[in-house]
């Protein structure tokens, strides 16, 4: 089942009269349950592509179909709601809400979705348990290591039961032990719960774990290898 389809996707930035084609005619399809890494040198267009897929930026042309819905046709407010219900995000700098505990950070997304309190509390604890942090449920981000924070971020990304999770260089700020733990957790969730993960990364350790590696250069897909 195709969860995501990109058709001739183009993103052009017009900066001081210079046109930069950050994404240039990308055609890609992702099946449910994929564990894919988008790799490429800095400035190759990985993050731009991820932003387009996540609906954080709008494409100049082309289509992004998420289970059949063309997100470029959605209004700004519909797009926010669509993101809330269909896409999970993991950011390079974790970006947890510092004043909330791990459990509250995970619950927050579900509250935005309007889910009942008991339901979101149960799910938050389940997810924290899945990322091995049930004992840190009441800790604030400032009391956790980078690796732990990123695991909370993964739990948060999954809280909304998204169609796929986009992770923008999730291991860039982590040491090798934390990276290994995080990747194991994500791989486990991917295999056990059939959750689709799409990473942008520089990190060879992520590339090694990925079952599909898409290489981008100058906005073009130069290779798409399934292992």
């Amino acid at each position: 089942m195709k969860v995501l389809k990109l058709k001739n996707l183009v993103k052009v930035y017009n900066d001081s009269e210079i046109q930069v084609k950050a994404v240039d005619g990308v055609d890609l399809e992702f099946e449910k349950g994929e564990f894919a890494a988008i790799v490429g040198p800095s400035g190759s267009g990985k993050t731009t592509l991820l932003n387009l897929i996540g609906g954080l930026d709008s494409a100049t042309s082309g289509e992004i179909l998420i289970e059949g819905t063309d997100i470029s046709s959605l209004s700004s407010s519909r797009l926010i709601d669509f993101r809330l219900r269909n896409i999970g995000f993991v950011f390079q700098a974790y970006n947890l809400i510092p004043v909330l505990t791990a459990r509250e950070n995970v619950e927050f997304i579900m509250e935005l979705q309007g889910r009942p309190r008991d339901d979101r509390r149960r799910r938050a604890l389940e997810l924290l348990s899945a990322v091995g942090l049930e004992e840190r449920a009441d800790s604030r981000p400032s009391k956790m290591s980078g690796g732990q924070q990123q695991r909370v971020a993964v739990a948060r990304a999954l809280a909304s039961k998204p169609k796929f999770v986009l992770a923008d260089e999730p291991t860039a700020n982590l040491d090798s032990t934390s990276t290994a733990t995080l990747l194991d957790i994500m791989e486990k969730l991917n295999k056990e719960e059939n959750i689709t993960f799409i990473f942008s990364t520089h990190d060879q350790r992520v590339v090694n774990k990925a079952r599909r590696v898409i290489t981008i250069e100058d906005g073009h897909v130069v290779s798409d290898i399934r292992k």
Partner: protein
């Protein structure tokens, strides 16, 4: 949870929040206490006007206030006063004989309004008897006793038991005079009143000017409760046609205006304070937004609507304002309660204050409705101050905000 996030966000930068809260608390404290001070001031003045100078309602011959002539009197006023005193809502009634006269001692003289009163009835209507600072209020049952205001006594260089001579016109216009002995000296909060008003017994003045028995120039009515005088005066005007029936607010329109404009003035005053504070709050919240660009970008990326982000910033600002504001209100209420009991003594200014008709000791007071309005205005300041920073927040583009290095 948004409420909880907003509240916890305030304490992220504890020192900065405490500084702005302290500024709000001090501003609101100053505003509320000044309101309490001014309210107490005006209410004391109104109370003095009613209890010392005016009473609630005065009845006169319909020409008297214009002419102030002795022959514009109310025949049968003493009986009318008894009739009015039996009506519900009335505390006490006193009829008075009024005449302008010259009062003189061996040293000097002055023009005064001489008021002939029945001391027993008068003491129930006005409190001159409580304001005696020397001598007594017609304690001795002797004829031709006079009560002078302190300022007039000083002017005349007269003391208790001094002899003063009054020169006045009789009903037929002939000039006459009489000698009186000073029985007591009073001091009210209004030195101008003290200089102008002297009191004698009604029979003495009636005899001197030759006014018919039972007649008087003025009937003063004191009500049981403030605020009931308007409707009662309307009733009296119907019952006694051809008489001038006026409430204290009609007799002293400047006092009524002062009373009515006080609330407006107070709110303008507090709005000016809050406006100044508002700029500080806007500045603080702009710093907050700048520091949290990345976080706000994340919130919008993961699906927080702009309306929710806007509400979160507004809520945070309102909570910041209300915390400072409530602290300021509580401080002001505590100080009001303390000074309302002991009074705030400004006697070093008393001469100037007395000349304006104000007592030198102030008893601040404030009502629940005023406190509620101030709290509402503080919250409103929060909402208004939040609009600009919150608009800045919702204009952020998630993709760009997330890229910013903090």
């Amino acid at each position: 949870m948004i409420l909880s996030v907003s509240w916890r966000n305030i304490w992220r930068s504890r020192t900065r929040s405490l500084v702005i809260m302290a500024a709000i608390a001090i501003g609101v404290f100053a505003g509320v206490y000044t309101i309490a001070f001014m309210l107490g001031w005006v209410n004391q003045r109104i109370d003095a006007v009613i209890r010392t100078e005016m009473s609630h309602i005065q009845l006169h011959h319909n020409k008297y206030l214009e002419t102030q002539e002795v022959h514009d009197y109310i025949p049968g006023a003493v009986a009318m006063a008894v009739e009015i005193s039996e009506k519900t809502g009335v505390k006490a009634v006193s009829s008075r004989i009024l005449t302008t006269c010259m009062i003189a001692t061996a040293e000097t003289g002055s023009g005064v309004m001489l008021t002939g009163v029945d001391p027993e009835k008068e003491r129930k209507v006005t409190n001159i008897n409580e304001l005696i600072v020397d001598g007594t209020y017609f304690a001795e049952d002797k004829a031709n006793q006079i009560i002078l205001g302190e300022k007039l006594a000083q002017k005349l260089k007269a003391g208790v038991r001094s002899r003063v001579v009054v020169t006045l016109t009789e009903m037929d216009g002939t000039l006459t005079g009489g000698a009186f002995r000073v029985a007591g000296i009073y001091r009210s909060a209004n030195s101008a009143y003290d200089e102008m008003k002297a009191f004698v017994r009604e029979p003495d003045l009636r005899r001197l000017i030759g006014l018919e028995e039972g007649a008087a120039h003025e009937i003063a009515v004191l009500m049981n409760e403030n605020g009931t005088e308007g409707a009662f005066a309307d009733g009296l005007a119907t019952s006694y046609p051809g008489k001038s029936v006026m409430t204290w607010t009609q007799l002293l329109p400047e006092m009524a205006l002062m009373n009515e404009s006080m609330n407006l003035m107070m709110y303008i005053f507090i709005i000016i304070i809050l406006l100044a504070l508002g700029f500080g709050i806007v500045n603080t919240m702009l710093m907050v937004i700048l520091e949290r660009v990345k976080e706000l970008g994340m919130l919008m990326a993961v699906g927080m609507t702009r309306l929710r982000v806007f509400s979160m910033i507004v809520l945070e600002t309102v909570l910041l304002c209300l915390t400072g504001g409530i602290a300021g209100i509580v401080l002001a209420l505590v100080l009001t309660a303390l000074t309302a009991r002991s009074g705030l003594d400004l006697s070093f200014w008393s001469e100037g204050l007395n000349a304006l008709g104000f007592d030198a000791v102030f008893y601040p007071e404030i009502g629940f409705s005023q406190v509620l309005v101030v709290a509402f205005l503080v919250a409103l300041t929060g909402v208004i101050s939040a609009i600009y920073p919150a608009r800045k927040a919702i204009k952020l583009k998630p993709a760009e905000a997330l890229r910013i290095d903090m």
